[in-house]
């Protein structure tokens, strides 16, 4: 007797809302395009090619693809070895495994030697309902402490395409948080252009300015629209390069008087964008009325992703009502 097929949206990793425009596997297709002109690009994964969109690359370039098995220390150690010989490995796995299982290899074998390894990891922050084993709610806290490591947290399919190209042109190790599968397309409506190391003011606002990264910028843009209906003028500063932080752009926004600053991140409140921005703000003596929305310092529940985003306060509705409460 066959058991009934389990149906739970906890299994669905896509963060696209119903009816939202999406692009399929933007990272994988961009990498294939870039690899045509860059023979040094190789793909490596630890049995998660399919769930990091690297299968798109391996199908086109089987001779430049290395399946390392479920062995993250080997994955990043071997990536370091290949980079040492002049190749540019894109090494993919889930963010939890790169940060928690292979940290010493990323720190010592890759970052210390400034090797040109691109660490591209799916399921950043709370983007799966699988529970703490798969929810990388502290990946930024872990990787921000690694010298030489550039950290990128793209928002949507457009930015993933642009960021993948940009990190290829950057010589040195990069950690990129990846959205995979059918990835929402949002930023094309804002004539957005990714620049490594630059925060971008996507919309200005006179009452509130959101400072957000990654997929949270989709939410803050939506929240700004909802707030507009209530005659609240909200702007969005998108900070997709977490390290090095674009302090100039950040401080310029925080410094403008009379506005509520709301930092929103898909990460533990400890150690991510929020603390980075607030520390920079204090170091530079720039004080604003700053509030912080992120995930609690806790092992999060498993379950359906939309429910979890509501529960932990990072859904669009939560952002809107929280901002109203603060104003």
């Amino acid at each position: 007797m066959s058991r009934p097929r389990m149906k739970t949206s906890a299994m669905i990793a896509s963060i696209a809302a119903e009816g939202q425009r999406t692009v399929s596997a933007p990272f994988g297709h961009t990498l294939v395009r870039l690899a045509a002109d860059r023979p040094e690009i190789v793909g490596m994964t630890a049995d998660l090619g399919k769930y990091t969109d690297l299968h798109v690359f391996s199908a086109v370039y089987p001779d430049r693809f290395y399946q390392m098995g479920m062995a993250e220390q080997l994955l990043f150690g071997a990536a370091a070895g290949m980079a040492r010989e002049g190749f540019m490995p894109f090494a993919t796995t889930y963010a939890v495994f790169a940060s928690r299982r292979a940290y010493d290899f990323i720190y010592m074998a890759i970052a210390e030697d400034q090797l040109n390894v691109k660490i591209v990891c799916a399921l950043p922050g709370l983007t799966t309902g699988y529970g703490p084993s798969h929810q990388a709610t502290e990946d930024l806290a872990i990787f921000r402490g690694v010298p030489n490591l550039t950290i990128v947290d793209p928002c949507d399919a457009l930015e993933i395409e642009q960021a993948t190209e940009a990190i290829t042109e950057h010589a040195g190790p990069v950690y990129m948080r990846l959205l995979r599968g059918n990835v929402p397309l949002v930023l094309d409506e804002y004539s957005y252009k990714f620049e490594l190391g630059k925060a971008k003011l996507i919309r200005d606002g006179s009452d509130v300015v959101f400072i957000s990264s990654g997929l949270m910028t989709m939410r803050t843009l939506e929240a700004a629209e909802f707030l507009k209906a209530d005659h609240i003028d909200a702007g969005v500063l998108h900070v997709s390069t977490i390290k090095p932080l674009d302090e100039v752009a950040l401080l310029a926004e925080i410094r403008k008087p009379g506005r509520l600053i709301v930092i929103v991140e898909n990460h533990n409140l400890i150690g991510g964008l929020g603390e980075a921005v607030m520390a920079s703000s204090m170091r530079n003596g720039v004080m604003g009325r700053i509030r912080h929305i992120g995930l609690p310092d806790a092992f999060l529940d498993a379950g359906a992703l939309p429910t979890l985003h509501d529960r932990y306060g990072i859904s669009t509705n939560c952002l809107v009502s929280q901002v109203k409460a603060w104003l």
């Binding site: 080997l74 990536a79 070895g81 040492r84 010592m108 074998a109 030697d113």
Partner: protein, 283 residues
């Protein structure tokens, strides 16, 4: 004898170089006041065989793309490597007397590619070397270069799970350009490896992982030469593992198999005895 040989050494020349290597390591440790004597002296012959006979390297061109690569997995035995690089002409002899002397000197406890010409990979964290070696060997295949990658590990280092991740992959990818060497001196920081975490039967383990395994006396230079000889035409497609049975502290009577000499300070009197014992060998 010339201490900067450009040509490979053999026979007595190699034996003499191994003796010089031990003296050099002691000289560096005297500069620092302490050091990993035991760990260095168990791999002296292995490093000497590699750098003075086996490896295709060129001191005038440390980054020569076709050179053989060496990874010092057991990075704490760095002075043994430093001596070889200095005597091969990659680095000046004067650096020895600055070993660990101050912040900013070139030779520190662990090998660093940033400061030391001829060092292929910075090391220090045990269990990294073989994975990095897998990557370098994969790169060699993809580049159609026929260099070999030699990775020296401690036997205790093979406690690290990452070593076995790499072991499985080297076999999968048919890395016949990868040669692992285990310096099996049987001792680690907290005691006998057999008590701390036994790894025997080592040869059977590596064979089961798909490697060509040989086991030999790690202080027997002719045996090392024959096992390490480049097999660039090999068709077995297998990576090679050489398990070298060694004695920690080999060559100095009061250090041999004494666990505390894994890393210890040395007095002037002990240093004199060490030098005298090594000098005696010539006579």
């Amino acid at each position: 004898m010339a201490l900067n040989p450009c040509q490979p050494l053999s026979g007595d020349g190699l034996t003499e170089m191994a003796r010089v290597n031990r003296l050099d390591a002691a000289r560096m440790f005297m500069s620092a006041g302490n050091g990993h004597f035991g760990s260095c002296y168990s791999c002296t012959e292995i490093i000497t065989a590699l750098y003075f006979s086996i490896m295709r390297i060129d001191a005038a061109n440390p980054d020569w793309p076709d050179r053989d690569r060496f990874i010092m997995g057991k990075g704490h035995a760095a002075p043994t490597l430093y001596s070889a690089l200095i005597r091969r002409g990659f680095m000046p002899e004067e650096w020895m007397d600055q070993y660990e002397k101050a912040v900013g000197v070139r030779l520190m406890t662990h090998p660093s590619r940033r400061y030391q010409p001829g060092v292929d990979v910075s090391q220090g964290s045990l269990g990294h070397g073989l994975s990095i070696g897998v990557g370098m060997a994969l790169a060699g295949k993809l580049d159609w270069r026929n260099y070999n990658v030699y990775v020296l590990m401690g036997d205790g280092e093979t406690n690290e799970g990452s070593v076995w991740e790499a072991a499985a992959s080297a076999s999968k990818f048919g890395l016949r350009n990868l040669v692992g060497i285990i310096d099996s001196n049987g001792l680690c920081v907290d005691g006998n490896l057999a008590d701390v975490m036994p790894m025997e039967p080592m040869a059977a383990k590596w064979q089961a992982f798909g490697w060509d395994v040989s086991r030999l006396d790690g202080h027997d230079l002719p045996a090392l030469l024959s096992a390490l000889a480049p097999d660039r035409e090999s068709t077995t497609g297998k990576p090679r593992m050489i398990i070298a049975d060694t004695i920690k502290g080999k060559g100095v009577s009061f250090m041999e198999n004494v666990r505390s000499w894994h890393a210890d300070s040395i007095s002037a009197e002990q240093y004199s005895r060490l030098v005298a014992e090594l000098e005696e060998r010539v006579a």
